[in-house]
């Protein structure tokens, strides 16, 4: 099929070939390799710091994110905004609010968007892909038909560029942060579906499945207890990577005016989108939230890529 599906399929095959692992399980080996990889460590540290900041944001933030305390000192007409100083470590934004507090609180929203969108995409996609994979692997001709129909729809959804898919969903739901989460989540559904299906397909040909079938284990049991747990490796990689894309894509949707505008719950994407009007006077309005987005996305990407490498049998030498 097309290149996009190709990439997903290649990821799906990662769990397939692991003949000579020597005693230890896949995850043990993967974890050992992960620990030695500086990329993985860096990614994990970034993710950990990000999550900690999000959890402790209310404690860390020196001011309320929507308190326009320094409004009197700012002027959008002359583009004068107080920069970094003792009270405001990162300066003040165009409405006289403390930039650092907004960034810190914003981490909560970004984490929320990433997690909710990914969980949404993962659960719907896993359901679709799981059913499809189980049908294809175990239930003969009828199962193959069910799979063909499901996957045809799935490939169709993959055929629409993800931002446009998100935009179509967002226009249905109106402007809010929840819209953004759902829209970004929807774009992840077909990816997860195809991935889990491919991964389960690779597993369903393995010896232990044949052995269980020969022993007369019920099919539903084989799928749930044997195939599914062994197929989750590539999905985990995709979850990590999708957290990064969700945060970036949410920023894009905010920029197009589809994000939430709640001043008490600032979001990095919206802050970045808002900064466009002040580019000539205060580039830092854009630089701060953008840096936050980039670093966070980088953390998830590093971790995801390292995990992929750790699971890839070809790279294990």
């Amino acid at each position: 099929m097309s290149a996009k599906t190709d990439r997903i399929d290649r990821l799906a095959e990662l769990t397939a070939a692991r003949a000579d692992e020597g005693g230890h399980g896949l995850w043990y080996e993967a974890f050992k390799r992960l620990r030695r990889n500086p990329m993985a460590i860096a990614g994990a540290v970034i993710v950990l710091v990000f999550v900690l900041i999000a959890i402790l944001a209310r404690v860390l933030a020196p001011y309320e994110p929507d308190a326009q305390t320094w409004l009197g000192e700012t002027s959008t007409a002359t583009m004068t905004f107080p920069g970094a100083r003792a009270g405001n470590l990162l300066g003040v934004d165009h409405l006289g609010r403390d930039m650092l507090s907004r960034l810190l609180i914003g981490s909560q929203q970004s984490l929320l968007v990433g997690v909710v969108a990914t969980v949404l995409g993962f659960s719907a996609g896993a359901l679709l892909g799981g059913v499809s994979g189980a049908c294809l692997g175990l239930f003969g001709t009828a199962g193959r038909r069910v799979d063909a129909v499901l996957m045809r729809f799935n490939d169709m959804a993959l055929a629409v560029p993800s931002l446009l898919l998100a935009v179509s969903v967002a226009t249905l739901l109106g402007q809010s942060l929840i819209t953004v989460m759902i829209a970004v989540g929807v774009t992840q559904v077909p990816v997860f579906a195809r991935l889990l299906r491919g991964s389960m397909l690779a597993q369903s040909h393995s010896d232990y499945v044949m052995a269980s079938t020969a022993l007369g284990v019920r099919k539903s049991r084989i799928v749930l207890n044997h195939i599914l747990p062994n197929s989750l490796g590539p999905v985990l990689v995709q979850v990590t990577l999708s957290l990064a894309t969700a945060i970036i894509e949410a920023a894009g949707l905010s920029f197009l005016g589809l994000g939430g505008v709640d001043a008490a719950h600032p979001e990095w994407g919206f802050m970045l989108a808002e900064s466009q009007q002040y580019l000539s006077g205060a580039l830092r309005f854009a630089v701060y939230p953008a840096t936050a987005i980039i670093v966070t996305a980088l953390g998830f990407t590093l971790l995801g890529e390292a995990l992929r490498e750790a699971l890839d049998p070809k790279l294990r030498k």
Binding site: S2, M156, A159, P161, L163, S168, L172, L256, A286, I293
Partner: protein, 334 residues
Amino acid sequence: MVRYIVRRLLQLIPTLFGLSLLLFAWLHSLPGGPEAALLDVRATADTRAQVRRSLGLDEPLWIQYGRFMKRLAQLDLGDSFSTGTPVVEEFGRRFPATVELTVAAMILAIGLGIPLGYLAARRHGRLLDILTVSGSLLGICIPIFFLGFLLKALLAVKLGWFPSLGRQTPGLDATRVTGFYVLDGVLTREFDASWDALKHLVLPGIALASIPFAIIVRMTRASVLEVLGEDYVRTAEAKGLRESTVRRRHVLRNAMLPVATSIGLLTGGLLSGAVLTETVFAFGGIGSFLAEAISNRDYPVLMGFIMIIAVLYVLINLAVDLSYSLLDPRVRVR
């Protein structure tokens, strides 16, 4: 080969059919129903009922779907609210701008990405490799419109090296032939117009190229690394072939296969990226019009453009797959 093409084209039919179903469902679940796609927000209940009747919205769904399909087949996608012109016409007028931008971005991404990826693989584990890998990771993680902001603020506004907005300097007397401004200038021998359009392409081109560039670099690097470890490369070296010959005939040619396919994957991302990039640079292509349509709730434009883009995307993917079978004889057998 012919059979392969025919089969792939036949596979398109269910895809397009399903896509039309999805769009039909989308149109019907819009807030305010499908008539919202034709009515102004200020429409009275009377006109609303009238429009519903004239659209046949009081008839069974399957008849409505049949009508919808008929209009699609006639390429009638309705009129834009904001301009009043047919959506297809709007698309046609803006399409060259986006193609120009996309081609510019692709030239940048491929022209820089493949050599850099190759060099990184040759110097595996050294400074250049590490810089390239981290740079490409950054390219994937940077929101594309932020890169646009930065380029605009630094290179256009502060340094003044490039124009910050539009496709051509306003007031420039240029003859339009094809709608591709750079090409127009060459065709009419107005080279200054071409040069001007080219300068307008640089910044949005760089912004749009960032993601494909990063992906191409990584793909090339990974692919070259894999091929360098193959037995046939060692054999070629062992039998005393010149290094440049091994590089060209054995390494690059084989390493390019996966890179070629990944370019198909990138077209979709480019169309998404074009929406953001064109908005930042007010480029006047389909992307910025789509962004306007989002804020104006211009449903006919939204639906029509997404439909056309999805079809284009599927066709481009088909073309890429076909070119892949030309590059790699093994694919043709299947």
